[in-house]
């Protein structure tokens, strides 16, 4: 008749929700000393390589020679370093060199011309067999490049980087209206010739400049209207001609050759007419800029006026400057360049992320883990969140530390970096952190599938690091490199591209040679990595549920 009371353990029930699972995984992560050290190593090698790159970017041979004993060591242009950067009205580095045949224009007015010819010569190494790369001054060849340009321009003043708006004929891109270096709008298409001339007109009304084009001088089409804020009442207006350098890159195993050639464009104009107040009585010719591009001796810049016809020859470019080997702002690297050490840090993170899962299999801990949390997908999710967050913080610390330290060090050494706007800097830092985080999750997924750390580390490194390496060192032809940076997880390094590609500038927009340009937009490249990680996560969750542990 005794009643049997059910046994109740005096210990309170433990809760087994997702937060507890997260807490358990976090405890596993933070209490393995080697993994925490691995993450710290990742931060240190990323920042360390970034600082090394800053230190190696100055002019070392110059810095070691101190003039007059203990005096301050000079860096930069005075030591034969790269020429200083010219900044445009938007604060971006620009190239501003052209031949200008000008008169002052007081107040509102307009200028109209007819262009009948645009030709160009190139002097330098053009891509032919058995030719040594580099500039050589012997041979002059026909050298019209797609962005050889000539036309009419209204400039705020004659200083470098001055605000402007221009209407022009180009070598291969038809009529364009361009303004303030980065603006570019297409007009009439097709090449200019005596049989098919192009009429160009610019009118100024206060701060507003409007460009028109026409094939016959009677029927005009408006190409664009731009506002140049703070334009003074008297501006410089007239004819210009310029032609950018020709760049060809050939990549061979482990080395890239850049063939540059200086080009000079010659344009013929007639039917020059003006309206408004033009106080000077004659035209003045002069070369604007010219520090950034060497002018080949065989290209005679200048202008010639006879019977209402103007022939203008110029060399250079009016366009945004592009950083990187073979480009117009060579020697001034943007901050993203100094994040190249991310690859080294990423290797450490990949090793830790692989072990975070494979160590469970190696030690048999996986059976305890799954006994505690029988819903296997939740365990994988908890692990992914913990390692992803830890890797994100690591990447954030590494990238932010590198950006801040490299900027400070460059400043201290007098090294002029290629400036980038602050939103781009933010994207570089956040993007690098996100890249490291998703790569860690991808590694965790692969580790879940293959269960062995060696195989997991190998697979992830071969799919992320090796394509990056093959492209960056120009080990494979650019065509293959571009393809690799589109489809492999290495596409995510696009988040580290600091400067945009401008369609109006032909340049070495390659990932190789340290130029750091990517075929995909930053977040599109990152999405490729996310896609790989998502597929791997799904496969890992499936296998984890289906296989015995």
């Amino acid at each position: 008749m005794t009643t049997i009371t059910k046994y109740r353990s005096p210990v309170q029930d433990g809760r087994d929700g997702f937060p507890q699972l997260l807490h358990a995984e976090w405890t596993k992560f933070r209490t393995v000393r080697g993994w925490v050290i691995g993450m710290i190593v990742a931060i240190l090698v990323t920042a360390g390589l970034g600082l090394f790159l800053v230190a190696a970017s100055g002019n070392v041979s110059c810095g070691s020679v101190s003039p007059s004993g203990s005096g301050p060591v000079q860096h930069g242009a005075a030591c034969g370093g790269p020429p200083p950067l010219t900044l445009g009205p938007g604060g971006e580095p620009v190239t501003d060199s052209f031949y200008f045949v000008r008169q002052p224009l007081a107040g509102n007015g307009s200028i109209t011309v007819r262009a009948t010819s645009l030709t160009a010569l190139s002097q330098g190494a053009v891509n032919t067999a058995n030719n040594t790369p580099g500039l050589h001054t012997g041979t002059l060849r026909p050298g019209l490049v797609p962005w050889s340009k000539a036309g009419i321009i209204i400039e705020q003043d004659l200083s470098q980087g001055s605000a402007y708006a221009a209407m022009m004929v180009t070598g291969g891109n038809g009529v364009r209206m361009q303004w303030n270096y980065t603006g570019d709008t297409p007009g009439l298409s097709g090449a200019v010739s005596a049989a098919s001339p192009r009429w160009l007109r610019l009118t100024r009304d206060g701060d507003t400049i409007t460009g028109y084009d026409s094939t016959d001088g009677a029927h005009w089409t408006q190409v664009g209207t731009v506002h140049l804020a703070g334009l003074p009442s008297t501006v410089q207006a007239g004819l210009f001609a310029t032609s950018p350098q020709y760049v060809a890159i050939s990549t061979s195993f482990g080395s890239g050759n850049i063939n540059n050639a200086v080009t000079g464009a010659t344009a013929v104009f007639d039917h020059v007419s003006r309206s408004g107040a033009w106080p000077a009585s004659t035209w003045t010719g002069g070369y604007i800029g010219g520090d950034t591009l060497a002018v080949a001796p065989g290209i005679a810049e200048g202008y010639h006026q006879a019977a209402g016809q103007f022939t203008v020859t110029g060399s250079g470019d009016i366009a945004p400057a592009i950083p990187g080997a073979g480009n117009t702002a060579v020697g001034h690297e943007p901050i993203g360049f100094f994040l190249a050490g991310t690859v080294a840090g990423l290797i450490a993170v990949i090793v830790v992320a692989a072990m975070f899962m494979t160590a469970e299999y190696r030690r048999g801990l996986i059976r305890t883990t799954l006994a505690v949390s029988p819903v296997r997908g939740r365990m994988l999710a908890a692990k992914a969140i913990v390692i992803g967050s830890a890797a994100f913080v690591t990447g954030l610390a590494a990238a932010a530390g590198t950006v801040i330290a490299a900027t400070e060090m460059a400043h201290a050494r007098g090294y002029a970096m290629f400036p980038v706007p602050w939103p781009v800097e933010l994207r570089l830092i956040a993007g690098t952190a996100a890249l490291v985080a998703v790569a860690a999750v991808l590694t965790l997924d692969v580790g879940t599938m293959v269960r062995r750390s060696a195989a997991a580390v190998m697979i992830v490194i071969v799919t992320i690091l090796v394509p990056y390496f093959l492209t960056f060192t120009a080990a494979v032809p650019a065509a293959i490199g571009e393809w690799l940076l589109r489809i492999t997880p290495a596409a995510a390094f696009a988040v580290q591209q600091s400067t945009p590609q401008y369609q109006q500038v032909q340049a070495a927009y390659t990932g190789g040679l340290g130029n750091g340009f990517f075929p995909l937009a930053p977040w599109a490249g990152f999405a490729v990595l996310c896609g790989w990680a998502a597929v791997a996560l799904a496969a890992a969750a499936y296998l984890l549920r289906r296989r015995d542990a």
């Binding site: 390589l49 190696a56 061979s252 195993f253 690859v343 997991a456 490194i461 340290g514």
Partner: protein
């Protein structure tokens, strides 16, 4: 007395027996053969894809171009060599191995000889197949006699040097990896370290704008220096001669093996 005799006999026969034991372990692992096949396949595939995507241009070295795949294939070779030792640590097998053969350096030497030998054989296959692909594909891409390019032939001195040197390069990469893996023991850490050592030097060298630093990094990097052996054009412009470059890699491999040997000898397994 008979005990002493057998001990003497055993020490006399230690080397062939160790080799035999290590060979049995290596040959009966499925991963060994998969990794060797993977190394050959990756090397040949990347080489063939590279030559197929290249048009003739000034300064291109057809031999280097045909052997591009080695830069991807070496990663697999490194992993194979790492696993030769770190597998034993992860399974605890190392304690059995060292009980059976207490002379630890002999064990390491046997592993080095076998891993090196296997990689030499697989490397020869991969290099020959890559060269054959180059020989067949390159003439169709403008690398013809008219443009000053001979058909790739092993009878040509520099081509033979590049081919033999590349095979040796792969074997030295295996020894470097084995040495590092013996020192750090954990397979994931060892693979991360080896691949960082191989790939970081060329990546950093390619982004450093300073020529002086670029040259130094390429001279000391195990991969960059070692691959000078593949040059057949512009050899005089290289920072090191081809054989000196392979010598730098040999120093790296020897240093790693010595470090691994010391750790193995003086640390508990």
């Amino acid at each position: 007395m008979s005990l002493a005799l057998s001990a003497g006999q055993r020490s006399h026969r230690a080397w062939p027996e160790t080799i035999h034991a290590e060979w049995t372990k290596l040959r009966t692992l499925a991963s060994t053969w998969w990794l060797l096949a993977g190394a050959v396949a990756l090397t040949v595939a990347v080489s063939a894809a590279t030559v197929a995507a290249t048009a003739v241009a000034p300064g291109l070295d057809p031999v280097k171009l045909s052997l591009t795949g080695i830069q991807a294939g070496q990663a697999v070779v490194a992993i194979l060599a790492v696993l030769v030792i770190s597998n034993e640590y992860s399974t605890g097998m190392i304690r059995v191995t060292l009980t059976a053969m207490p002379r630890r350096l002999t064990v390491l030497a046997a592993k080095a000889a076998l891993a090196g030998g296997l990689v030499l054989a697989a490397g020869a296959l991969a290099i020959l197949a890559s060269m054959l692909a180059g020989r067949l594909i390159l003439p169709g891409h403008g690398f013809t006699l008219a443009n000053g390019y001979q058909l790739l032939s092993l009878g040509d001195g520099p081509v033979l040097r590049a081919a033999c040197g590349s095979v040796l390069y792969l074997a030295l990469i295996a020894l470097l990896s084995l040495g590092i893996a013996t020192a750090v023991r954990d397979s994931a850490v060892a693979i991360g370290t080896v691949l960082a050592l191989l790939y970081l030097f060329p990546i950093v060298a390619s982004v450093v704008s300073n020529q002086h630093w670029q040259r130094h990094l390429e001279q000391i990097g195990p991969m960059t220096a070692g691959l000078y052996i593949q040059a057949t054009i512009g050899v005089h412009a290289l920072p090191l001669t081809p054989w000196q470059g392979l010598g730098v890699l040999t120093l790296w491999a020897a240093g790693a093996l010595i470090l691994g040997g010391l750790v193995l000898r003086f640390r508990d397994a």
